[in-house]
């Protein structure tokens, strides 16, 4: 393994001091001269025709500068793909879910804006609501989305390998149903934005955005603005977890109100609005059938799944494909059949959440694996080791695994958690659950899908890096600075992080799927090489060498075969600036051109490079009297290739797992039978606190990915994918009850224990 100087070290985050002193500015902290404050009037009902909106009284109120509704937008639908453009900036003919923004006000202050909302009169004509997948698919179901003539928003169906033969060859078969609830995304910073329009009509949006370029594209389309007519500058973002990719009614409203008034308009949501009306994870209803040999080796898998996703498709079509695609991995499954449907409903719109729908797929398959393992008496660790994908493995659906550290992940987590010892003796109510998972390092989607990085060489020898990737807390900025420093042979401190600004940074496809480290990381290396090439051409003549023989290390520029023939980095930089008059920029782009644009409907194609792996062991204690679950310890054997920053990687693993512990045990966005949410405040919607999560241990399994930057793979989302089943399996191991419908509440455990006793 190469001995790196900066890569692989837990250097201090570039933004740590800014954040720890409170000086980091988030969207809600921004001010602009003459700024107005915006507020949205929200639908009190889940599904209704908008008969009329009378804004005249609100407009007449002193201090109110503008009032808008959906009719103020051009009526152009937008969506993730051309075939699913099914949403508008704000509704025109009907509301689709509780809390949908139907009108917006800009006023001199927040109080005035709030008061003006009360003066807007909306006449609704109630429509029957679609709440569940069953409602959506009923023969006489009302249609949810006005751009579609069916409640099936998308589907994915595929068969890979000989499934019938696989089940015939199986010694044991088991079939089970699983379900998962609606959960909120749960970042702590609520949605916020500040929009301004200059005298040329050019829009500047500064908002809490995870993927500002996704927002930018959709907004320009739906507002009929040329792409050059809008600039996005990203402030610090208070967490994303896939809940802040696309533009929301608040962003559209702020821009429209700024266009109308000619003044900056800021809108900051209160968190109850976020919980009631913004992105959640799809509810799932799934059925899986698995066949195994006597030794536990999987011979075939059959699965069907319906995701209920709210009134828009959003990223849902990808979710429904992803669920099926990641049943193919991390276990060797020679034959697989999958039928997935994404359906519309009148609940809050879904995007996805940390780990995407691999989270749900893995909950199903690893729960089922545990169950069949118990049926056939194969040890849970051995069962996973037997089925773990190895290096150079091609999955049934064509996903190609280059390097897999999964077997070692399983071994390390089992050893550290004390699995073998626990089989000999353990306290009453104590158990250990396992789950593995694999997560890609950024898929190739249609349309623009590349990453780009620019390095600006300053005359003092330091380098400013800007990239399309967005820092949302995951630490990507630090990772790119580390990579640039490593490649340029500079100390970490000499790389300065620049601003994310659509006018100067190059566009990126978005911050999802663990792609930043991998894609933008490779682009960072390319940019550094470009800069070195430019500098080598300037320096080489004076060193009497060819530019291609110039090497960069330890802040020096020298001849590779004769290191004593060289100059220090700063002298080389000055040569460029003062002798050649050439300020230098290194430019790098990267895209995985050798992987396929997957057909989401048929599941065909090699989706990704850089599959990362995890094996999670969760030690749990269940109180049989109360059903209360205490999580004692979580051990994650984690293969993220070459860790770029081990401490930040641990933070990702710990965070992803803790996040999904809430999903496993108690988080749920509840609705009444009219589609009105019941618990849209943090008083009633419980996210894990510091006392709810276990001690976390990360065992790094170092591998070297052949395509990843410095051998790194994407990192961060794998532990989200392995946690649900690890918890469910741990509870089963502890008290012998199996809960297949999430969340696994104390009440469900008690009921199951009671039912077990009655048998």
């Amino acid at each position: 393994m190469k001995n790196y100087k900066v890569v692989g070290k837990s250097v201090e985050r570039t933004d740590a001091r800014v954040k720890v002193t409170g000086s980091a500015r988030y969207a809600g902290d921004l001010l602009a001269p003459g700024m107005l404050h915006g507020k949205l009037l929200r639908s009190p009902t889940a599904h209704a025709r908008i008969v009329n909106i009378d804004t005249s009284k609100a407009r007449a109120m002193p201090g109110v500068m503008a009032v808008i509704t959906g009719k103020d937008f051009p009526g152009i639908p937008f969506g993730t793909r051309p075939d699913i453009r099914d949403q508008l900036p704000m509704p025109i003919t009907k509301v689709h879910h509780f809390g949908e923004g139907v009108a917006a006000v800009a006023a001199v202050d927040e109080d005035t804006a709030e008061a003006a909302l009360d003066l807007i009169e909306v006449d609704y004509e109630e429509l029957p609501v679609v709440l569940t997948a069953q409602d959506a698919l009923a023969p006489d179901a009302p249609l949810v989305n006005e751009f579609k003539d069916s409640n099936i928003a998308y589907f994915s169906d595929f068969v890979f390998g000989d499934v019938d033969k696989g089940f015939e060859e199986a010694d044991h078969i088991r079939e089970e149903t699983f379900s998962s609830q609606r959960v909120s995304v749960g970042f702590v910073e609520p949605h916020a934005c500040l929009a301004e329009v200059d005298a040329n009509g050019r829009v500047l949006l500064q908002a809490s955005k995870q993927s500002p370029y996704i927002t930018w594209r959709h907004m320009c389309r739906a507002m009929d603005i040329p792409l050059s007519g809008m600039r996005i500058v990203n402030p610090f973002v208070g967490g994303g977890f896939s809940g802040k990719h696309d533009p929301f009614d608040v962003d559209f409203a702020a821009v429209k109100l700024a266009q109308i008034t000619g003044k900056p308009v800021k809108i900051v949501l209160n968190y109850d609005e976020v919980l009631a009306a913004y992105r959640q994870r799809n509810a799932m209803d799934a059925r899986l059938k698995i066949g195994v040999k006597n030794n536990g080796a999987i011979t075939a898998l059959w699965a069907e799944n319906i995701l209920e996703g709210g009134p828009i498709s959003g990223i849902g079509p990808f979710n429904i494909y992803f669920f099926g695609a990641f049943l193919n991995i991390p276990y060797k499954i020679p034959a697989i059949e999958y039928h997935g449907k994404l359906v519309y409903s009148n609940r809050a719109p879904c995007g996805t959440v940390r780990g995407q729908e691999i989270v749900l797929a893995q909950f199903c398959i690893d729960s089922l694996l545990h169950m069949i393992g118990e049926d056939i008496g194969v040890d849970q660790v051995e069962l996973r080791a037997i089925n773990a994908v190895p290096d150079d493995w091609t999955c049934a659906n064509g996903i190609k695994v280059d390097v897999a550290g999964l077997s070692e992940c399983i071994e390390k987590s089992a050893q550290r958690v004390g699995w073998k010892e626990s089989r000999k003796s353990r306290p009453e109510g104590r158990g250990i659950g396992f789950s593995c998972a694999s997560h890609p390092s950024g898929p190739r989607l249609g349309g623009h899908f590349g990453s780009a990085v620019m390095l600006k060489l300053l005359e003092n020898g330091q380098v400013i890096i800007t990239q399309g990737a967005t820092e949302i807390g995951q630490g990507s900025n630090t990772v790119f600075c580390q990579m640039a420093a490593e490649e340029l042979g500079l100390p970490f401190e000499d790389i300065i992080q620049g601003v994310s600004d659509s006018d100067s940074t190059i566009f990126d496809s978005g911050m999802f799927g663990d792609r930043a480290t991998y894609w933008d990381g490779n682009a960072t290396i390319a940019a550094a090489r470009d800069l070195k090439k430019l500098l080598a051409e300037i320096v080489a003549p004076s060193l009497k060498a060819n530019p291609e023989d110039i090497e960069f290390a330890d802040k020096r520029v020298f001849v590779r075969e004769a290191p004593e023939r060289g100059i220090d980095w700063l002298s080389a930089v000055r040569k460029a600036y003062y002798e050649k008059g050439a300020p230098l920029y290194g430019r790098g782009t990267w895209a995985a051109l050798d992987i396929d644009i997957v057909d989401w409907k048929t599941g065909r194609g090699n989706l990704v490079h850089g599959l990362d792996f995890i094996a999670t062991a969760m030690e749990v204690q269940v109180d049989k009297e109360t059903g209360k679950v205490d999580l004692i310890k979580a051990v994650h054997g984690d293969d993220a290739g070459q860790p770029i920053n081990p401490a930040m990687l641990e933070g990702q693993v710990n965070g992803g797992s803790a996040h999904l512990i809430g999903h496993a045990l108690w988080e749920e966005s509840l609705y009444d039978d009219k589609g009105v949410p019941l618990n849209y405040s943090w008083r009633d919607y419980k996210q894990p606190t510091a006392v709810d999560v276990p001690e976390c241990i990360v065992e790094h399994v170092h591998t070297h990915d052949p395509f990843g930057p410095f051998g790194a793979k994407g990192a961060g989302e794998a532990s989200s994918c392995s946690t649900l089943a690890a918890v469910a399996n741990g509870i089963s191991d502890a008290v012998g009850v199996r809960i297949k419908d999430l969340p696994i509440t104390a009440e469900k455990i008690l009921d199951a224990l009671k039912a077990k006793e009655e048998k």
Partner: protein, 160 residues
């Protein structure tokens, strides 16, 4: 109705003219420009708006600004001495206890209050202390590590 009130924040005395229903977080952020104090749920559940009032952590969204008169208010901006970070801040930086950073000011101030009162907490006590501060990024492990490290540093500084 607006009224003049006197607030002592980070050692500085301010006279501000605010409506009596304004909360402390609103006045800190909107009137004094101290935006390091974050606002999210506005109902005392998330802890993002935590500040110290006479050394005790409070949710500043639940405190009326008028009720904060006569108290010593400490916000995140008041913790470092110039560029020298407070030991709690230093520990958060060193132990990678920060990701998106939105919960960080509240976490840091809650930790300071804990350690001022209990210089030698167990990890359980540390976890309990921050159980009113939500973090979605970190899983809390590295925050707890930072809290314990800060305790050790501060104890050492006290004894030397």
């Amino acid at each position: 109705m607006k009224q003049d009130i006197v607030l002592k924040v980070n050692g500085t005395t301010y006279t501000v003219n605010v409506e009596s229903h304004r909360t402390l977080v609103e006045v800190l952020r909107d009137t004094l420009g101290l935006t390091g104090t974050k606002k999210s749920c506005n109902e005392g559940e998330c802890g993002a708006c935590t500040v110290l009032m006479d050394g005790k952590p409070v949710a500043s969204c639940l405190v009326l600004a008028v009720a904060a008169q006569g108290k010593e208010i400490t916000t995140i901006e008041g913790l470092a001495a110039g560029v020298k970070l407070h030991p709690v801040q230093e520990a958060f930086v060193k132990h990678t206890a920060i990701q998106c950073g939105f919960c960080t000011p509240g976490m840091v101030l809650t930790t300071k209050a804990l350690l001022d009162e209990n210089p030698d907490p167990t990890t359980r006590e540390a976890r309990r202390a921050i159980s009113g501060n939500l973090c979605r990024c970190t899983g809390y492990q590295q925050i707890v590590d930072a809290m314990m490290a800060a305790a050790a540093t501060m104890k050492k500084e006290m004894s030397s």
